[in-house]
C-alpha cells in the first residue's frame, strides 16, 4: 500500500462517523454513517494535471473524489474544469472528509478556496473569471481592467508565503489572504511591495475591484 493511502486510512479512522478501507492502488472506499459510500483516489502528487486526473478516471470510472493528500498539492484550472465536468469532487483530505459526511463527494471543491471562488464570481463588478490554478485567478472587470489574483489561505501569511506564490505561479497584481481570520504579517505586505503586488483581505479587495 502506498504511503499516502496508509496515512489517509489512518487519518479517516480518527474522524467520527467515518471508516476507510483500501481497495486497490491509490483507491480507497470510505464508509460514512447515514451517507453513501465514497470511492476516492488518494494522490501523493505535488501537482495534479488534467492528464493524470483523466487517467485516474479511466482506471476507476466509478470514483467520486480525487484527493491530493499533500496540503500543498496544486490543481491547475484545466484539471478542475475536467473533474467538475465529470462530476468528480476534488481537493484536500479535509475537503474529502467534509464532503463524505455531507454526502456531496461528487460535487465538492477544495474547501480552502470554495468561498473565495464564490465571492469573486458573485461580485457585480466582475465580468469574467478565469481560474488558472486552484489559487490563481485572472478576472476581467466590467470597466475592462484585467487583474491577476493569487490566494493564500494561511491565518497569517508571512513573507515567504507571498514570495513562494510569486515564484511558483508568476507575477500577480494582488495577493488575497482568503482566510476569514487573521491578517498578513507586515513582512508579507513588505514582500508584496518589493515584488510589485499588494497583499490584502476581502474588504480591501472589494474596494479595489469597485474602483479599478
Amino acid at each position: 500500500m502506498n504511503w499516502q493511502v496508509k496515512r489517509a486510512i489512518a487519518y479517516f479512522a480518527e474522524q467520527p462517523r467515518l471508516s476507510a478501507q483500501h481497495v486497490e492502488g491509490d483507491l480507497i472506499r470510505i464508509e460514512v454513517e447515514d451517507q453513501p459510500d465514497v470511492l476516492a483516489v488518494i494522490s501523493a502528487a505535488n501537482e495534479i494535471d488534467a492528464a493524470t486526473a483523466a487517467s485516474y478516471q479511466e482506471k476507476h470510472p466509478e470514483i467520486d473524489f480525487l484527493c491530493g493528500y499533500r496540503k500543498t498539492c496544486v490543481w491547475p484550472g484545466d484539471t478542475i474544469a475536467h473533474l467538475q465536468r465529470a462530476r468528480i469532487g476534488w481537493g484536500s483530505a479535509g475537503t474529502l472528509t467534509s464532503a463524505a459526511l455531507d454526502g456531496k463527494a461528487n460535487t465538492a471543491s477544495h474547501k480552502s478556496y470554495v468561498f473565495a471562488d464564490r465571492l469573486l464570481r458573485q461580485y457585480g463588478r466582475v465580468q469574467e473569471v478565469s481560474r488558472e490554478y486552484d489559487r490563481i485567478y485572472r478576472i476581467k472587470l466590467r470597466s475592462g481592467t484585467v487583474i491577476r489574483i493569487g490566494m493564500i489561505d494561511d491565518y497569517e501569511p508571512n513573507a515567504d508565503a507571498v514570495r513562494s506564490l510569486w515564484d511558483d505561479f508568476g507575477p500577480v497584481d494582488i495577493v488575497w489572504n482568503i482566510n476569514p481570520n487573521g491578517s498578513p504579517s507586515p513582512e508579507a505586505v513588505d514582500a508584496g511591495t518589493e515584488l510589485g503586488c499588494e497583499v490584502m483581505k476581502w474588504e480591501e479587495l472589494k474596494e479595489r475591484l469597485r474602483t479599478a
Binding site: 504511503w3 496515512r7 480518527e14 493528500y69 496540503k71 508571512n158 515567504d160 504579517s185 507586515p186 513582512e187
Partner: protein
C-alpha cells in the same frame, strides 16, 4: 514513521538545516494527524532556496507542511511558544533515547 524517525530523517537528509532553526509542532508530535508540521526560522536567500530543494526531496514520501518564518515574524507572533514547537534535534534525540533504552 514516528515523529522521532521523521526528525532524524530530515536532519540526516537536509544539511542546510544547520543554518536554520527547525522545529516540529502539531499533531505529529502526538503520533497522529494528516500531515507533518515543520517550522523553519531563518533569513531568506540562497541558503533558504537550497533548504527548500533538500526538503522537497526528503519529503517525497512524507506529507510535510512547512512554515518558513523570518526571525522577526517568529518574534512578533511568538509562534514557537504558542504552538509548543519542539526543536527537530530534540525530537530526534527522543528517538535515539528510545533506541538506546531498548538496546537497539
Amino acid at each position: 514513521m514516528t515523529a522521532g524517525e521523521i526528525a532524524a530523517h530530515l536532519l540526516a537528509s537536509c544539511g542546510s538545516l544547520e543554518q536554520f532553526d527547525a522545529y516540529m509542532f502539531g499533531s505529529t508530535l502526538r503520533g497522529i494527524g494528516q500531515d507533518v508540521d515543520i517550522l523553519v526560522v531563518g533569513p531568506r536567500g540562497g541558503a533558504l532556496f537550497q533548504l527548500k530543494r533538500e526538503l522537497r526531496v526528503a519529503g517525497e514520501f512524507l506529507p510535510l507542511h512547512i512554515l518558513y518564518m523570518l526571525p522577526s515574524e517568529e518574534r512578533r507572533t511568538n509562534f514557537i511558544r504558542t504552538e509548543n514547537c519542539v526543536p527537530l534535534g530534540r525530537v530526534a534525540a527522543t528517538l535515539s533515547q528510545v533506541l538506546k533504552t531498548e538496546g537497539l
